[in-house]
């Protein structure tokens, strides 16, 4: 009877193993890639900057170009052995490229036959995976992608009889049993690679005698049905090799990227030995947490390899002198806030299961250089602010969004101070009052009525508005002073609340609400007077969307983090092409933008001048919500738009205006980007015109007693002269253009 039951059990296990293993398909998380950097003659990228980009991609500097993944830098020239890579729109074989540098950046690109290359791309950086709830992450490798040293090392260290045994090694098991019996507990497994594979793929982690028996039967069954090559390949892809938060690292392909930031095929002897060392206990031998003991085990592995004749003793000797060489970060590049947006973007098109199990490749707009700079700028400035405005009951937080206005690409997202934390994403979810960030839209709407322009004199005087509940709303300027008659440009530059409320009430809340929605505000705001001072709660990403249109001449381009999705077999599945819609007259937006430039030179943006490179033209607007709960700055250059929010999660007052909290973060970010000056094309219908900042009267540079600023005005606008400043100005004279040139030279 016992024999019959035993036989049936073995038969059942045999069926289970063969059936499941024959249809073996690992669930593959979607892998997410940053935008690959285009290289071309004229790109303002220095040799050290290129080297930094190559190192980010785990290319290694060498004296003689070897395998793909290496580069050689000499005077004004870098030769790179580029890896074979897959892009969203095709593949590139491994190839050698020479890059020549001049004083302003890349001067020439040549291939290995010295033919000129007009443009090419670096590899797209893997920035993370969308893995399932169980956290299993994996990169599957083919036998061709595995360095021959790895299976040889695994056999030498883990299973010397692998090539000949039938799935189990009775002598190894007996030895382990003897050790276990003597210690009255299970200390040694004596498991073959096949048994380890069975344990990982079919069984739980519990070590019981029954499970050991089951494991042995299944291993024998596997070994009798499948070739040794198949089993080795399955082992290399299956085995658990580390933990990164809630993500578990499976297979040597991902482990190679996780620990060394490069493909498995590029690993050298000490690195292969390190991974083989980790197999014995990924937590105990975690090379980042327990470097000394991992190093000791790696060296033991190297000695075994030499003893078994897998490598020469002298090779092992040299390898033992090498450091572990693991990357500092858990995965080199991990941007959970950005991945959050990627996941949300894809969720509408793909069920969760497909995202996390179908092996998709997702190509994004993220630019690692911009992302890192945004993270550093926020962290550094918040540390400075902590010292000045320290609260014991809360920690100052922040968020940053950077876009490319022309394409709508989201280049970077910082969701909070702890950039590695995959939790509350302030850039996407912190709905905060935008304060004065609304003012450019109030004035844009005013310009659209045709009754206002940048030089129009408006009244900055106390305002009292009766609300629906019978109470009165009496907003004040930040300085608690009123300035009387001021031109629109000053009201915007200095963020005068009372003047803005006066204009806003004159043109109507509904019109301003309409403007905001045209630019991308998702929901109509409550049409109450406080709306004019930014009583609209939206996250930084939505602010970036509405400001993107201001930075792009009145064209609305939906922001996009995902550019394309490609299937596991490299077929394009979905693209997110650029879309553009004109939502405002370019002339009106140009006029507002000219006033936002004055924010930076005469208004609340002035503190940025100490940080930005001299001569860099930018435009922006600060925002501060009531009781300083939110500190904002949104602004743009010729290349990028950045939105910064600083505040407390629980709405405590920060004691910081937009200029004090968010602006320094924004300015350091912009300065670090090496961005270009804002030079919008002047549309027909407006002309750059010099006026006095305080009175709005015509005043050329050099006019005594005036503060001349240049703003765009509708062509033909008659501007009366400032007393003592000559004749009146009509927007559109040659003198204006000469003055503009002079202004640019001076600033």
């Amino acid at each position: 009877m016992g024999l019959v039951v035993g036989g049936a059990y073995i038969y059942y296990l045999n069926l289970l193993v063969t059936h499941q293993f024959e249809g073996l398909r690992w669930t593959l998380p979607a892998h997410v890639y940053a935008a690959p950097m285009d290289l071309y003659a004229g790109l303002p990228l220095s040799e050290p900057q290129l080297e930094h980009e190559l190192q980010r991609l785990s290319y290694h500097g060498v004296t003689d170009l070897e395998q793909p993944g290496t580069y050689r830098a000499t005077d004004n020239r870098v030769d790179v052995a580029l890896r074979a890579v897959q892009f969203a729109d095709g593949s590139r074989p491994a190839t050698v490229l020479s890059i020549f540098f001049g004083p302003t950046g890349i001067q020439d690109l040549r291939d290995s036959s010295n033919r000129q290359v007009p443009v090419t791309r670096l590899d797209p950086l893997l920035i993370g995976s969308l893995f399932p709830v169980d956290g299993v992450d994996r990169i599957v490798v083919t036998p061709q992608e595995v360095p021959p040293l790895l299976p040889a090392a695994l056999k030498a260290v883990e299973d010397r009889t692998f090539d000949t045994n039938r799935g189990v090694d009775p002598f190894a098991m007996l030895r382990a049993l003897w050790v276990d019996l003597r210690s009255h507990r299970i200390e040694e497994g004596g498991s073959t690679l096949t048994q380890q594979l069975v344990k990982s793929y079919f069984l739980t982690n519990r070590q019981t005698l029954g499970r050991k028996v089951r494991e042995a039967i299944m291993a024998i069954s596997l070994a009798s049905h499948f070739s040794k090559d198949d089993l080795m390949n399955a082992y290399i892809n299956e085995i658990f090799l580390g933990q990164d938060g809630n993500r578990s690292i499976h297979g040597f392909g991902l482990a190679s990227e996780f620990y060394f930031g490069k493909p498995l095929s590029e690993l050298d002897l000490p690195q292969v030995a390190t991974l083989v060392a980790i197999v014995r206990g990924p937590t105990y031998y975690d090379p980042r947490s327990h470097a000394p003991r991992t190093l000791a085990r790696r060296n033991l592995v190297l000695q075994i390899l030499a003893r078994q004749g897998v490598v020469k003793p002298e090779q092992a000797q040299v390898a033992q002198q090498q450091p572990l060489g693991v990357t500092i970060g858990a995965s080199g590049a991990y941007y959970p806030a950005y991945l959050d947006l990627v996941r949300r973007t894809l969720r509408s098109d793909y069920p969760e299961k497909e995202l996390t199990e179908a092996g998709l490749s997702v190509y994004t707009s993220l630019q690692p250089r911009v992302q890192e700079l945004a993270e550093q700028s926020l962290d550094a400035q918040l540390q400075v602010l902590d010292k000045r405005h320290h609260r014991h009951d809360a920690k100052l937080e922040g968020a940053v969004v950077v876009t490319s206005p022309q394409s709508g690409d989201v280049l970077a997202i910082v969701g909070g101070r702890n950039v590695d934390f995959d939790g509350f994403n302030r850039a996407l979810d912190a709905n905060r009052s935008i304060g004065s960030l609304i003012k450019p839209f109030v004035y844009l709407t005013a310009l659209e009525t045709g009754r206002y322009n940048a030089a129009t004199v408006i009244q900055d005087q106390p305002v009292s508005i009766k609300l629906a509940n019978g109470r009165y709303w009496r907003p004040e300027n930040f300085t608690r002073r009123n300035y009387g008659p001021v031109p629109v440009v000053r009201a915007l530059a200095e963020s005068l609340n009372d003047a803005t409320v006066g204009v806003g009430m004159d043109i109507g809340l509904d019109k301003i609400s309409g403007t905001l929605q045209r630019f991308g505000l998702q929901r109509a705001p409550d049409q109450v007077p406080a709306m004019l001072l930014g009583a609209i709660d939206i996250p930084p990403l939505e602010v970036a969307q509405i400001y993107n249109g201001l930075a792009d001449g009145g064209f609305r381009t939906p922001l996009r983090a995902v550019r394309a999705v490609v299937s596991a077999d490299d077929k394009p599945l979905k693209a997110f092409p650029l879309q553009v819609t004109q939502v405002a007259s370019s002339a009106d937006v140009y006029e507002v933008e000219s006033m936002m430039e004055q924010v930076m030179t005469h208004g609340t943006g002035v503190p940025a001048l100490r940080i930005l490179p001299p001569g860099l033209t930018t435009a922006g607007k600060s925002g501060t919500s009531s009781q300083d709960r939110d500190s904002w700055f949104a602004g743009f250059s010729g290349g990028e738009l950045a939105v910064v929010w600083v505040g407390y999660d629980h709405y405590q007052p920060t004691g910081l205006t937009g200029s004090e909290g968010a602006l320094p973060v924004w300015a350091h970010l912009m300065a670090g980007l090496g961005t270009t000056s804002l030079e919008m094309p002047a549309p027909e219908g407006v002309t750059d015109t010099w006026i006095d900042y305080l009175t709005g009267l015509g005043a050329q540079p050099g006019c005594a007693g005036a503060i001349p600023v240049q703003v765009a005005l509708p062509t033909g606008t008659q501007v009366p002269p400032m007393p003592g400043c000559g004749s009146g100005t009509t927007a559109g004279t040659l003198l204006d253009r000469a003055g503009k040139l002079l202004h640019r030279l001076v600033h």
């Binding site: 071309y40 590139r92 490229l97 092409p577 650029l578 553009v580 004109q582 094309p681 549309p683």
Partner: protein, 183 residues
Amino acid sequence: MKLMLGALALGGLLAGCALLNAPPPETSGNTGGYPQPSQRQAPPPAAPGSQPAPSQESPNVPPEQQAPQQPSFTLGPAATALVGDAHTQEQSRNFGLATETLERALSIEPRNPLVWIELGRENILAGNPAQAYGMGRKALYLASGDPRAQSSAWQLIAASLRAQGRNDEAYVAEEKAVALNPN
């Protein structure tokens, strides 16, 4: 007359780029490898994202005797190569791929109206005339000061309107295109 203008706009745009002097399709490789060097003379290099570069002066006429030259946009070598790639992809009716390639060109020269016109043209071919219209407006905005580029932008706008059945508006756009560049 309307028909003539319509044919001009659609023909000029969809036939591909006489107005842009883009390289012939065979000049650059596909995404399987590096683009090969151009076999025709590339246009004068323009700094990516630059303002219009002045046209080349006639070598035999002293500068002071020359009439003031209108600035004109040109494509730099990298964008030229990518536009060439896009044309190759377009010929195999792979409009999605061509669009992605042109977006690469756009990331290199985001303020060059010629790239926007190419992208708009691709959108018409791909059956997205509404998007092409937006790109035509964008090109027109960026082409400030360059009548030839403005004319091309109006041609794109006209073609996109006609593709949407908005023939009267298309006719007005075509007239603007011709007025800006009668040749």
